[in-house]
Chain length 237, copies 2
DNA sequence: CAGTGGTCTAGACCACTGG
DNA sequence: CAGTGGTCTAGACCACTGG
């Protein structure tokens, strides 16, 4: 898809530190040998990712905002950090098969004592920790995943390689205070506010394939969620 | 915008109970007197909203597993408390017209010194505070809202009564530590972790009509969000 | 004013579906 | 096979920006 190529090009340019105004749509079209419509399609993808924005009559610009994650895409924290010029890194802190904790077993539809792979990983940007992630996979799926795999790639990149077609994701979001282990690993202090997300990922058939818990220090991130339309009634707003 | 008209038409048809296959893009184009590209643009908006999906070579279909509860989920905090048998209550702590703070003015598309209505409200369940909400409305809209209105009803119930057709909502979610005022009002302690949400509500025409900030003590709540499909690449999962 | 993004059109080619 | 969605093009008109 040409529009994906154009988007990837621009994304990596932005990731390499490009700031300010982008060339006009017309010029981008000439440069990439595509029509203006295709350029726009690419730019709108990047806009959805929060990387660029446009001003009518003026042009397209690289966004300088603090890191945001568009949850319509759940996927961009690392990408956004990368785009902001930060050097991403991952450290696998734990990698072990164990008995599924009750809540995990329930979410994965397994027996309580079923075996699961548990991975704890620290995500860094410029050597600064910004997310502590714990992932549980059913043993059958975890068996084909190596520690090196986990160090190298994201789980959402890994799953498709192991025959899982990712489907919907249900995320629960809360605030917690950092405990001793979290504080140590995130280079913070006990009691620091953390954004705590718990995700259950399903495959296209509707079966749960992964449970993950994410801890973000308050300083480092904000999630952004967009709802197309409000439904009547029942809000506390 | 014609594509918004087409999207609105289809949305209301689906809202009225339409199920199964939609007419082909070509036929929808003829029916609405627009080109196929415009039809697709409308359909892709509805896809983003989780209302429809397509199969290449086959057609577009109304989704039967409604993904729409994403917002329903976020708005059910009070409803869930009620369902759990808790007695809900609201106290209006502040109700005043004032100069818009810079960030609010920007989100509402107002001049920095424009007048806005600022309301601070505490939501309780069984006399226990569970949410501290600050709402800003443009003065023109706020002028028709009384303090009693705000005490009695939610803003999402109020807006339609004042001619606002609610559209999309963009929510930013973060964790913070309670400051002195927040701690006092939420019956907690300074430094307690809070889930901090900032919402911008738009009307159907895309104009921002309300900005709100929500503080939930960690003990009381978690937001649940569902995403229809994960997108490839770039996650930290 | 020239240049820009926002929208829209008519037409094309392709891969795919399903009879 | 005819019909469908996915992608792409060249061209157009408009509102808006900013010198």
């Amino acid at each position: 898809m040409r529009y994906l190529d154009v988007a990837a090009d621009l994304r990596s340019e932005i990731g390499s530190g490009r700031v300010g105004a982008l060339p006009s749509e017309a010029e981008l079209g000439e440069r990439h040998g595509v029509s203006r419509v295709t350029v726009r399609r690419a730019l709108e993808i990047l806009r959805d990712e929060g990387l660029v924005d446009s001003r009518r009559g003026s042009g397209w610009f690289v966004r300088s905002d603090p890191i945001r994650q568009s949850l319509g895409r759940v996927t961009t924290i690392e990408a956004a950090l990368e785009a902001a010029g930060a050097r991403p890194d991952r450290h696998v802190l734990e990698f072990a098969f164990e008995s599924a904790p009750e809540a995990v077993a329930k979410d994965l539809g397994l027996a309580v004592d079923a075996e699961v792979l548990r991975v704890v990983r620290l995500n860094l940007a410029d050597d600064e920790p910004f997310a502590l992630v714990t992932v549980w996979l059913p043993a059958a799926l975890g068996a084909s995943v190596s520690r090196a795999d986990v160090e190298r790639a994201t789980f959402s990149d890994l799953l498709p390689l192991h025959g899982v077609e990712p489907g919907r994701i249900v995320q629960t979001i809360a605030a917690t205070a950092a405990d001793r282990a979290e504080a140590r690993r995130l280079h913070g202090h006990v009691g620091d506010p953390l954004l705590a997300c718990r995700r259950v990922t399903y495959d296209r058939s509707g079966a749960a394939v992964m449970v993950s818990e994410h801890r973000y220090p308050a300083r480092s991130t904000a999630l952004e969620v967009e709802f197309p339309l409000s439904t009547p009634g029942g809000t506390h707003g």
